[in-house]
Symmetry: C2
């Protein structure tokens, strides 16, 4: 993806096209599941003088527009990804915090209809799998 594509995305969402936003979009695309600090670093490779606030603002705007998705497993700082709208979920490693994508086993929005919703109008179901990643399994075995 080039900057032109990112601009398209922004315009399509009725967002103003600014250099920080384009750079943030690029950084998130190239760094799936990265935290804000990592994204800030990646953005500054393209745009050395962005403020961290601009990155926070951009991420918030992009999230609100549905262009990026914010994920934040317990005990972690906020992380972002651009793969949106395909009902995929995440596995998080309990020991190193690594995150990987997982497609839900049961087809379309499965088990994602609450049996008794307490009157809530539910618009999204989020699944997080907790476990141990291959590297940490190996590390534990060798202890």
């Amino acid at each position: 993806m080039g900057n032109a594509d990112y601009e398209q995305l922004l315009r399509g969402a009725s967002l103003r096209v600014t250099r920080p936003r384009v750079a943030v979009l690029g950084a998130v695309t190239e760094n799936a599941h990265a935290d804000t600090e990592t994204i800030l670093g990646a953005v500054r490779e393209r745009l050395p003088d962005v403020s961290h606030q601009a990155v926070y603002d951009s991420l918030a705007a992009l999230s609100a527009a549905g262009i990026v998705r914010r994920i934040q497993p317990s005990g972690s700082v906020a992380r972002y990804e651009t793969r949106v709208g395909d009902n995929h979920h995440h596995v998080v490693c309990r020991s190193c915090g690594n995150i990987a994508d997982v497609d839900c086993a049961v087809g379309h929005t499965p088990c994602l209809t609450a049996s008794d919703d307490n009157g809530f109008v539910v618009d999204e179901a989020e699944v997080i799998y907790w476990g141990t990643c291959p590297q940490c399994q190996a590390a534990q075995r060798s202890k």
Copy 2:
């Protein structure tokens, strides 16, 4: 539940029985989904001089022992509940942050087997439904 029951629970988990822990267990039981600050307040009604650190430590010990469950939806501070081990999930209101319990529609650990686990050993699947609670729906309609 009385304090004797809480003491049983603690001993059953090989945890030392201390007054802060008993009070914390009581506070969490009576305040489902409460955040740490609320729990601290409730604990201090029973034990006026507990330090916040003791509450944090107790909550960590109880969580590690599986007696309480810690939940932390994106954008929220940590919350705790004592209903554990029954595979139930939560609905979170996007506008007011309220949380309610939900029993999973599909029987036992459904859709909770990732189709491709990337080599992770998964030990838990956590589901969070996002939506709008009845009160906030009413508030929005009347606008």
